[in-house]
Amino acid sequence: MSLPCEQLDLLVIGAGPAGLCAAYEAAAVGCRVTIVDENDKAGGQLSKQIHRFFGSSHHGAGKRGIEIAEELFGDCLKLGVDVRLSSSVLGLFSNGEVMIDAPTQLCLVNPGAVIVATGASEKSLAFPGWTLPGVMGAGAAQTLINIHRILPGSRVLMVGSGNVGLIVSYQLLQAGAEVVGVVDTAGSISGYQVHAGRVRREGIPVYLGHRLLSARGSTGLEEVLVEAIEDGTVKRFEADVLCLAVGMSPLCDLAAMRDCRMVYEDALGGLVPWHGADMRTSQSPVYIAGDASGVEEASVAMEEGRIAGISAAEDLGSLNSGEAAERRAAIAKRLDELRAGPHSRGKLAAKERLYAR
């Protein structure tokens, strides 16, 4: 079987914060850009972020993720970016061709450059009962409540006190669920104070220094046993949902398939394609951006996306190298500000190590 192969200039895979920003930057300097996403809406994880972002005005402070997603998508449409939704990329082949499972047919494209901005997936934990219905990723619960407007259950126990665990806990409350607690093995809350304060004000108990023992139930989750690490005291929670907010793994299989050199960085979520600060991978013309290049915040993903878009535009001849370097430097400065806080120290060190490898 042979498929006709469509010639494209720049293909961006993933219409989340990184991909939309990459597409915008490249299109703004005259590149012909196609963006594909397997979802039926653009926005990626921003589409379920109903809380207000903070930081500088440059990073959408004061706006909700859903609003930022709509703006970025609108900006791309205005520049004439070719958007193909409900389309999954099945493979990046060594001859440069890309196979896409589009709504009505399989198609093959041959882009001059590819930006992989495929995001991340949630990690799990293994413990007795972890496969019971009702045990789910915190992000999965967030998708259900904020996008589909459906509660996964009525009593929720959250595992993990990072930002995802904290934010999803109070969003579950907003949606009408009862959150019976947040459990973390750590001795202190690992997310931002602002989110921790919100959880505390809502009266959700936080059990630090506690670990999951088991989840029980017959046809689905009914109860969860948790143990205090220090003295072995066991607590029993009645719950029909157990959310796991225990980190994310970069979704970079496509880059690996294209033979990009992969490196392991624990602080970035595991295996990621090696890349420079210009978001070029070891395989030209393949670029990486956002959580697929190492799990960080959405605001970081946006800036990395912009850098990837500029590098791709440079290599496609739409920007001269001096101009491209100048633009990247301005964005790199903003990235440094975003990564300046104590929460980002480990990620910043990992990124710097990675650039130097």
């Binding site: 397997e38 039926d40 109903i50 909700r64 997936s121 949630e122 799990s124 496969t131 019971l132 219905p133 009702g134 045990v135 789910m136 990723g137 992000g139 999965a140 998708t143 259900l144 409540i145 904020n146 589909h148 407007r149 459906i150 509660l151 996964p152 259950g153 907003q174 949606a175 009408g176 046809t219 689905g220 979704l251």
Partner: protein, 105 residues
């Protein structure tokens, strides 16, 4: 429309839920109300159904884990086609969804 309380009709940030077009799907032959534009897995949750399949050997219940098409825990038989990710497949009026019951042994 008779929905149970798993549907979030009022939300402090997102406001009132816009009424989508109601469709009917069948789970193992029984009718379930669903709303156009939502994935099968979401419609099942709204109906209080959490089991998406039984595991191949031990026939233990499984449910959706990631809701973004990665984990495959939500794979069901849809209109006769096996291994369909129900978190990524939108409902369609009259759709027939079956719960995989593990391997025959």
């Amino acid at each position: 429309m008779a929905f149970n309380n798993f549907r979030i009709l009022q939300h402090p940030v997102l406001g009132e839920k816009k009424n989508g077009k109601e469709v009917r799907i069948f789970l193992d032959g029984l009718p379930i109300h669903a709303v156009e534009g939502e994935p099968i897995a979401a419609a099942l949750y709204a109906a209080g159904v959490r089991i998406t399949r039984l595991s191949p050997h031990k026939k233990e219940p499984r449910g959706a884990f990631c809701m973004i098409g990665r984990c495959t825990e939500c794979c069901m038989i849809v209109d006769g086609e096996p291994n369909v990710r129900t978190c990524r497949t939108m409902v369609r009026d009259g759709m027939r969804v079956e719960t995989p019951r593990g391997w025959m042994e």
